[in-house]
């Protein structure tokens, strides 16, 4: 938080906060430390991954693009060669380099498990061989089906080509066979990964990671005037609970219900603090804002503005017109009709519901300095609605026989959690997945803009006396500075991505510093933050925020509006205004 001193405003007789800034804030305030720490990891990621250019990258890209150009001009559907060329580009990843694989092993979260939680941390050679043998049978079967589907797809494509692609029924038949092959191909590649697992012992790596993170955050704490030793001792506990949260989220049932690490982290923290109590020696490491802000700076690097054009104009309308409209309408509804007592709770729930769930809630809550209980409530509501919508929406779309492009856009624009969008979209079809995922990704990019706007609005309009005009200098003093790091990382990485072009950007940046560094640590930092929230929250206080069920009413009404507007806009854009784009998907 920014330094502030209370001053008596003699004109209005209202006590107001007057913020101050000084040069020492650069090393004394956690907002700046979040920027320094976040950027140090991003720079490290760039240094590690940029030299890891996949062998023959340019040749592969050029060859694939020439095939794509030729196939694009040849057939009225995506041919087998078209898909194979895209697959070739997909394999180009800096994270596949030896150092990338080492980093992945070192920073891995607890592994997936079903009935034995120890599987999350250790699996010996014997158990691995047994699992692989089981997976191999499924893989062989899936591989044979994929080969069969490929032959059928090629035969149908040749038949359509022999007719000069002038026979619509042959074209449709070829397109369907190719879709079936893609589905079989995906199943085979997933089955392959289950047949080629390796034994692991994650425990020493987790201990190493804990030490590294304790030092990483401890340095900042120490410079900010706290005890390094006390922080490190407390951090071991916070980290341990974070590991438990990741372990619970890796369980098969938790995945099916869409209950992620954030929910588990809050729950475990809450249980500890409200039963046996959070030990006093842990409190120096219960630093919610410090972890969240550092995580948000990393998140900024993952927000690449170039991606908003991934699905053309319709995607922008569905994600960037409907979403802010719903956000503002829900916020106003919360203020005027539901009369939510806290503006920060209102905006956090509105952003959480309209943008993309937990990540939007974190960014917005940090930008407007919402209370930890408010963020907890928003995350809880998002969790419940995500689980329901992930199950109900694909079922409804199937039941009414809605076109999958429309259904995909609808789900992408409305289901909060990103993982749930992938599950619901893929469950319908690959086409629905591509549209749903792309719309959701464009919506994810919106987080940066929303966090920035909320931060400015709060400094200029909310955190001041009614009618008082806040000068720009005052806005600067009050402005949460980590947001600058968040936006700065986004702008820098977006520029780099655009300069490199989408293919090289995908291989070296997206599949390099972003997924190989930023994503990993950001996940851990958010998890630590949610553990801290739980460890410092009292159930009774939390209950007060839910009084009268107003947050639930707000979420329900906002989500209903979101469902209606998104479906309407998706239909208008994909079927009335830009049907030619829909036809190509």
């Amino acid at each position: 938080m920014e330094p502030s001193s209370k001053q008596d405003n003699s004109d209005s007789q209202v006590v107001t906060d007057r913020a101050k800034s000084s040069i020492s804030d650069l090393w004394k305030k956690e907002d700046y430390w979040a920027i320094w720490l976040g950027f140090s990891l991003l720079i490290l990621g760039l240094i590690i991954y940029f030299p890891q250019k996949p062998a023959g990258m340019e040749e592969t890209i050029n060859k694939a693009n020439s095939v794509l150009t030729a196939e694009s001009g040849r057939a009225p559907f995506k041919t087998v060669a078209w898909h194979q060329a895209v697959d070739a580009k997909k394999k180009l990843k800096a994270t596949s380099s030896p150092i990338g694989k080492e980093i992945k092993i070192f920073t891995n979260k607890p592994h997936g498990w079903k009935s034995n939680p120890m599987d999350s941390f250790y699996r010996g050679p014997e158990a691995t061989d047994k699992a692989n043998a089981k997976g191999m049978a499924a893989y062989e079967s899936a591989k044979a089906k994929a080969a069969e589907a490929l032959s059928a797809a090629k035969a149908a494509e040749n038949a359509a080509a022999e007719a000069g692609f002038k026979d619509p029924s042959l074209n449709a038949e070829a397109s369907n066979k190719i879709d079936a092959w893609r589905l079989a191909h995906t199943k085979a590649s997933k089955a392959k990964s289950k047949a080629n697992a390796k034994p692991y012992n994650q425990v020493p790596y987790l201990i190493g990671l804990m030490v590294a993170m304790a030092i990483f955050f401890g340095i900042g704490m120490s410079v900010m005037g706290h005890s390094f030793g006390k922080f490190v001792i407390g951090f071991t506990f916070v980290f341990l609970v974070a590991v438990l949260a990741y372990t619970a989220s890796a369980q098969a049932t938790a995945k099916h219900y869409g209950i992620g690490y954030a929910a588990w982290a809050i729950l475990f923290g809450l249980i500890i603090s409200n039963t046996v109590g959070t030990p006093k020696w842990v409190m120096p490491a219960v630093q919610t804002e410090y972890y969240i802000k550092t995580g948000l700076v990393l998140l900024g690097a993952e927000i690449l503005f170039g991606k908003i054009l991934s699905i053309g104009v319709p995607g922008i309308f569905v994600a960037w017109v409907v979403t802010p409209t719903v956000l503002i309408a829900t916020y106003l509804f919360g203020q005027k009709i539901v009369k939510i007592p806290s503006k920060t709770l209102n905006i956090t729930i509105s952003a959480d519901m309209s943008v993309c769930g937990v990540s939007a809630a974190i960014a917005t809550a940090a930008a407007c300095r919402a209370k930890k209980e408010e963020l907890t409530l928003a995350v809880g509501l998002s969790l419940v609605f995500t689980s329901i919508m992930m199950i109900a929406m694909p079922a409804f779309i199937k039941a009414v026989d809605m076109p999958h492009v429309l259904g995909g856009a609808w789900m992408g624009g409305t289901i909060d959690a990103t993982g749930a969008v992938a599950a619901a979209g893929a469950f319908l079809s690959d086409r629905a997945l591509y549209v749903a995922a792309t719309v959701k990704m464009i919506q994810n990019v919106l987080i940066g803009v929303i966090a920035f706007c909320v931060a400015v609005y709060w400094c200029a309009r909310v955190d001041c006396v009614p009618g008082q005009k806040v000068p720009p200098s005052e806005i600067w003093h009050r402005f949460p500075k980590f947001v600058l790091g968040f936006i700065g990382a986004s702008i820098i990485f977006s520029y780099m991505y655009a300069s490199m072009g989408s293919d090289a950007g995908y291989a070296l940046l997206d599949q390099g510093a972003i997924r190989g560094m930023s994503r990993i640590f950001r996940g851990w930092f958010f998890c630590l933050a949610f553990v801290s929230i739980g460890l410092a929250t009292n159930f009774r206080e939390l209950r007060e925020y839910f009084s009268g069920g107003k947050p639930l009413i707000l979420y329900f009404c906002g989500q209903s509006l979101n469902l209606i507007l998104t479906l309407t806009m998706a239909y208008i854009m994909f079927y009335l205004v830009f049907p030619e784009i829909t036809a190509k998907i």
Partner: protein
């Protein structure tokens, strides 16, 4: 704040720790109940719910495809990477439109 009640009886005057002990016991019992509840959800109620006709196909599908259905941002889910590269190339290299003449109309 912990309050030590002092019940001085007879000659022995020992600070009564019963309030604190009771609180501690309640805390540990609460922790135990919470852990048991979570275990019951993960291993009994949750799996039972997954077997409901409307849910089971989705749960099986998530397992089969190994989808990280409980992640929060697009960079955490592999399917997003696949979708993105596919859509990018679809927009950059779209299948050609057939003219009416080509379709023989």
């Amino acid at each position: 704040m912990t309050i030590y009640r002092n019940r001085c009886a007879d000659l022995q005057c020992i600070p009564d720790m019963s309030g604190k002990t009771e609180k501690k016991i309640k805390g540990w019992v609460g922790l135990l109940i919470s852990v048991i509840t979570i275990i019951i959800f993960l291993f009994v109620i949750g799996p039972w719910g997954e077997k409901l006709p409307g849910f089971q196909p989705l749960a099986d599908f998530i397992d089969e495809r190994g989808i990280e259905a409980n992640m929060y941002f697009y960079t955490e889910v592999e399917e997003f990477s696949e979708a993105e590269i596919n859509m990018n190339n679809t927009m950059q290299f779209p299948p050609r439109d057939l003219s009416q003449q080509e379709l023989g109309k």
